[in-house]
Chain length 434, copies 2
């Protein structure tokens, strides 16, 4: 089914193509072409496709399609998806679109946009269907049949008291399986802990994933229900987090849009700042080396092992940094575990360095002689311990001071420990060789 734009004959998508395949096709195109093809799609199909598109692609289409069509498409989105799209758009465009929405949709969107970015409030749907205590199953099902059409989900139905306080959740599954005259109060799951609207999106998404639920309730400070976060939104949140983690792990900013819809110049722009920052940090290594230029001149064979040693340190640091980042992002490790983690990772680094040194010392001896071999072997042990400890410390400390631990990732740690590793190398060399 996949085809590139080169072998597509006409600028249109087949009418029978399922929406997700159309999404895949559009995602592979560059922005002007995306808009051109999207305009040819019949209204109803276009609405379904637009809803499944990546925020980045939606944004590119908003920039290029006629206003009337954009308003209809944006109106058709679910409130939380709409809020997320509007927050990405330039303020004038967002305001224009907002003022063109129907009053009901406008009000809901404005409510969601009132919550901070990255908060659960932004991704909840306010279109839930609530049940009251004292209803029988038959009455509840009748109410759902009457009013359920407008809700984003009816699989999870909050049970509310008269003040909109959450008493529990009723699952449609249980309603359908229960006898008609049972009271919904008896079916409600009361063990649910509601999410505060200001809670972090990732925490909420992890909770939904862990508990295998379809929707989690969101409440205000007084415990009144504001909306539900559904599992599809939780999946999208986790996926965005993953994209960010991976991008940081590679030392660049997340693209937040499909690869082919970003020009080469823009790709370079998203990467150059980080590359430059890391290169500036690497100037430290130049300083260390120039401080030891005389040592280097006296024993030139020391230079041969510089790349090997700093690569190994970098790799060792990257291993522990990515392991720790992952453990932190799934909640296995918190800031309070700093010392326990540092102790473990220092030991792991020591073990790794000792293994590498033991394996390498004989071949090194044969290649450059005993003294330099000893220097390199000892440096391996020091560098690995240092790297594993730093690789563990940086993400945990970053989290402690409120920075995304993923930012403090492999490239950053590599650069950080390179200078320290070189310093250790030349200090050991001086002590042994002179």
């Amino acid at each position: 089914m996949r085809q590139t734009e080169h072998d597509r004959d006409e600028n249109t998508l087949p009418a029978t193509m399922p929406a997700y395949e159309a999404v895949r096709e559009l995602t592979r195109l560059e922005p002007p072409e995306q808009a051109e093809i999207f305009e040819q799609i019949p209204e109803q199909q276009a609405t379904a496709i637009f809803g499944l598109l990546d925020k980045g692609v939606q944004q590119q289409l908003v920039d290029r399609l006629p206003l009337a069509q954009v308003v209809r498409l944006v109106e058709s989105l679910e409130p939380d998806d709409r809020a997320q799209l509007l927050e990405e758009l330039p303020a004038p465009t967002a305001r224009k679109l907002l003022s063109n929405l129907s009053p009901h949709e406008r009000q809901m969107t404005a409510q969601l946009l009132g919550f901070p970015e990255e908060s659960v409030g932004r991704i909840m749907t306010p279109e839930f269907l609530a049940l009251g205590p004292g209803l029988t199953v038959a009455q509840a099902l009748e109410k759902i049949r009457r009013e359920g059409q407008a809700a984003e989900t009816i699989y999870v139905l909050p049970l509310l008291d008269d003040d909109h306080h959450l008493l529990g959740l009723v699952y449609l599954k249980d309603l359908v399986l229960a006898p008609c005259d049972q009271l919904v109060d008896e079916l409600a799951d009361t063990m649910v802990r509601p999410l505060p609207a200001l809670e972090d999106q990732e925490v909420a998404a992890r909770l939904i994933q862990m508990t295998d639920t379809l929707a989690a309730p969101v409440v205000d400070k007084e415990g009144r229900l504001l909306g539900l976060v559904t599992v599809d939104d939780a999946m999208d949140v986790l996926d965005r987090e993953v994209e960010e983690d991976l991008a940081w792990a590679g030392g660049s900013e997340p693209l937040a849009r499909p690869y082919f819809s970003v020009s080469a110049l823009r790709l370079a722009r998203t990467r150059v700042i980080w590359l430059l920052a890391l290169a500036l940090a690497a100037i430290l290594t130049v300083n260390v080396l120039s401080a030891f230029e005389a040592t280097l001149e006296a024993v030139i064979s020391l230079a041969l092992f510089i790349p090997l040693l700093i690569d190994t340190g970098g790799n060792c640091g990257a291993q522990s940094a990515t392991t720790l980042m992952r453990a932190m992002s799934v909640g296995e490790i918190g800031p309070q575990d700093l010392l326990r983690v540092l102790g473990r990772e220092c030991l792991v680094g020591l073990l790794l360095g000792a293994m590498l040194a033991a394996i390498g010392v004989i071949p090194l001896w044969l290649f450059v002689g005993g003294p330099v071999a000893l220097v390199v072997a000892l440096t391996l042990i020091v560098i690995c311990s240092l790297a594993a400890t730093a690789g563990a410390a940086v993400p945990v400390l970053a989290d402690r001071i409120g920075i995304d631990p993923a930012v403090a990732s492999a490239p950053f740690i590599t650069t950080l420990i390179d200078a320290a590793g070189l310093l250790a190398y030349f200090l050991i060399a001086r002590a042994i060789l002179f």
Copy 2:
């Protein structure tokens, strides 16, 4: 709520603790303690908690708890979760458990285990509730009320003909909202493309995520329905993939179990092979440098920039590798895009190198003089182009020959291009300085 094992007074969890919090607590302990605490939990609570635990922790508990309890716990798992746990266990343990299951559960588990690892067949549930054509909504709801208790999900109901061929999917939501006398045939979603049982799990999970569905149908080669893949299993698959991608990006094997439940020695074991392999590859850099030892001896200041240059190359390669890996894992890029991707990344690398060279050349000039500054600046351009291209080529090529692109990640690419970068550096130096 979080507490470490140091400030927990008794070896037990409060009975009122929600299952997911108990899971969090258990995950932070080391294996012997996990079992000790788990044994104290009342049967019903223990069952709920066991179902939410990570496969790795389940496995550790199986090793340590009494057989009778283990059999009850394993019996209580959903068929797909059970199959995944059994596949992780040593064969004798798995066989013993399997033979202790009730015949019905044993048969279902054996069926799932008959599908290859990583295939959709392994994660589907065979406990679905099917509808036949010609039923009215009222009849369908009645059937669900009678038989729905045994199904893993009743939110998605496959519509099957007499030969078990999939005609479409009926969503419980539509059934509940529709008039009682409507035919289910009219409600069925017939645009669904079923997943072949041998399809890759990640592909299936991405499809579920993209289409925001709660369950996707799985069929055999003849198009007969075998089971459903539910959204919670899709989330777990994506999460495992992420863990793997991140681990490879850091140059180590995925732990596949909580951080604190793995000993320091085992952590070192999971990392040492990769570290050693990368160190062996880095020996190439020693060779390149020793080939140019005379050049280095003549102009010792060339040595000062070795770490800076190889770090920058490594960072540049990591940036493009992680960007490409991500784009490939979400399906934006396929093997057929190799040339298009290489062209773009080579251009991006050229732009990045040129920017860094332009920024660096004046300070370098002042620090080490014109000729060496020119050598370093030119090398930056060559290294960045090389690194970005290699960073893009390796994951795409790996995918083409059937290796997980994530394996061919940053550390691997860094080491690969270090030697090439050093070669370029000294060739440029020879051409300009001598």
